[in-house]
Amino acid sequence: MRVPPAIEARRLHKWYGDVHAVDAVNLTIDEGEVFCLLGPNGAGKSTTVEILEGHRPRSSGEVSVLGYDPQTGGRPFRERIGIVLQQQAVEDVLTVREALELYASMFPKQRSVDELIDVVGLRPKAKRRIRTLSGGQRRRLELALGMVGDPDVLFLDEPTTGFDPSARRQAWTVVEGLSSLGKTVLLTTHYMDEAQNLADRVAVISAGNIIAEGTPATVGGRGSAASRISFRVSANRPFDLPDDLSVDRTEDGELTVTTTDPTRDLYRLTGWALDAGFNLDRLEVRQPSLEDVYLELIGEEAGE
């Protein structure tokens, strides 16, 4: 029997007046998946997520989250989701522990507040008022608040913006922990390394459209895209490169081979260098990064 997807959207549209913020988005996110929505500001990421959370009505289309329509799911629906939004405060005269206990008390299923405080690394701050926390500590508290009801689906809207690198690593560990428990996570982010590290699948959204979807390794044709072999030749005499390689030369002497068959071309290149007695300095083979692919995708969309 096929397990129904945790999150499904079909031909989802959202209009703000004349602005078509979400334009026929289709999404299928399976149970236990960490799914990442990438896109520039204003592309429709947050609007899409807020529709799935039930914070915003849709203009048209079908949406199902854990089998509920977020717009009408009400309390039973909200008992099973967790939300970490971008701009969301909590009364800052409460202590970390008080806030977690307060929000936990609203849910039928609860995670232990003590355990959560440890998970997000706020043990030394547990008895402090929230207003004394740093920005990064507050975001970690919000992550904990999002998980306090032991949700089956967790929405994370740019959860690590403003984190220092170690806090981000810590947050990633938390999210990985959730996915290992079979929870579904829908994440939006500006950080490509975050998507690369956390996501099982990513979708790139631009101007309200999903323009590419796949695993971080294959999205946007990344898996089959051309690799770049770059190197320098330290030679005290003139030389001719093998003529079956297409080589670009930059002004500072770096040479680049763009190839869809890096195994063969690297073999040709190193064979040629050994035969001629040259060294290939700073030799590097590079797959296009997720960021390269992403920038190319949203650049194409913008008509560049």
């Binding site: 007046g17 602005v19 631009s206």
Partner: protein, 280 residues
């Protein structure tokens, strides 16, 4: 699954709102101490002698009037400002994303405000009785309690309405002060009624729900009124209660229609940012 009961949710919200109140010194000062300062100032300026037109002492007039004023601050002003600020900060939106029923959140806020209103009144009357010799009359106590409960409910509902119509937390104090203070001056809170009060001003005062609250509450402290009958039912101010009930019901119905859980512009209107090829 053990879904928390409605009662435990509301009770939890009341306790949490109370905790926030006590940790916000400004709100605590204006609600509890500020009206008390009026009482002290008035008794110092006028002396605690009998006010000629009324036949009661200064404190006997002002302590109940200011107790009502404190209760209205605790409900109307605090609810409007606190709720509007919570909306600006996104706290209301966060609540909307949890299983807490929206009514339970609002009931928690109102319950906490009513509790603080009672504390404000008890402090005011306590100081009046202990320091300024204010007298109470047992036969009017039922009317006093009923008037207070109805008045607090009415002004809580108007507080929610003020929160609903205030564009932001910054403007909520303006909305509440601009409505409450002028009303207080024509509602026997700061100025005792005299023979020179124009009839039309009296009428205007009676239409709004503050003067009925003050008059019904003050009458419970007026010996001449207390002497009229021994029947506690005879002391009930049905007309004044009716005015407050009408305002309260209208206020909460309108508030429910107009209430917003997100700041203005929460439905993000505007063109999407231009797509650029930078990391954003």
């Amino acid at each position: 699954m053990n879904r928390p009961s409605d009662w435990s949710l509301v009770w939890g919200q009341i306790r949490y709102q109370n905790k926030i109140f006590w940790r916000t010194p400004v709100a605590a000062f204006f609600t509890l101490v500020f009206p008390l300062m009026f009482l002290l100032v008035f008794t110092v300026i006028f002396g605690n002698d009998e006010i000629p037109d009324l036949g009661v002492t200064t404190a006997q007039f002002y302590a109940p009037a200011l107790a009502v004023f404190g209760a209205v601050s605790a409900t109307y002003t605090n609810l409007a400002i606190g709720t509007a600020i919570a909306r600006d900060l996104g706290i209301l939106k966060r609540i909307r994303g949890t299983p807490l029923p929206p009514w339970a959140y609002l009931a928690g806020r109102i319950g906490s405000a009513a509790y603080l209103a009672a504390i404000a009144a008890v402090i005011m009357l306590g100081v009046g009785i202990l320091v300024f010799g204010v007298e109470v009359y047992p036969e009017t106590l039922p009317s006093l309690v009923v008037t207070f409960a109805v008045g607090v409910a009415c002004w809580s509902s108007l507080g929610m309405l003020a929160a609903a119509v205030s564009p932001s937390g910054d403007s909520a104090p303006a909305v509440t002060n601009a409505t409450l203070l002028p009303l207080a001056f024509i509602s026997d809170v700061f100025i005792p009624p005299g023979p020179d009060t124009p009839v039309w001003l009296d009428t205007v005062g009676n239409i709004f729900p503050l003067k009925p609250f003050v008059v019904a509450f003050q009458d419970a402290f007026t010996p001449q009124v207390a002497a009229t009958t021994d029947s506690w039912l005879g002391h009930m101010h049905w007309a004044e209660l009716g005015v407050m009930v009408a305002w309260g019901v209208a206020g909460i119905l309108l508030a429910l229609r107009l209430f917003r859980w997100e700041p203005k512009g929460g439905e993000r209107v505007g063109k999407p940012a231009p797509v650029t090829a930078d990391k954003g």
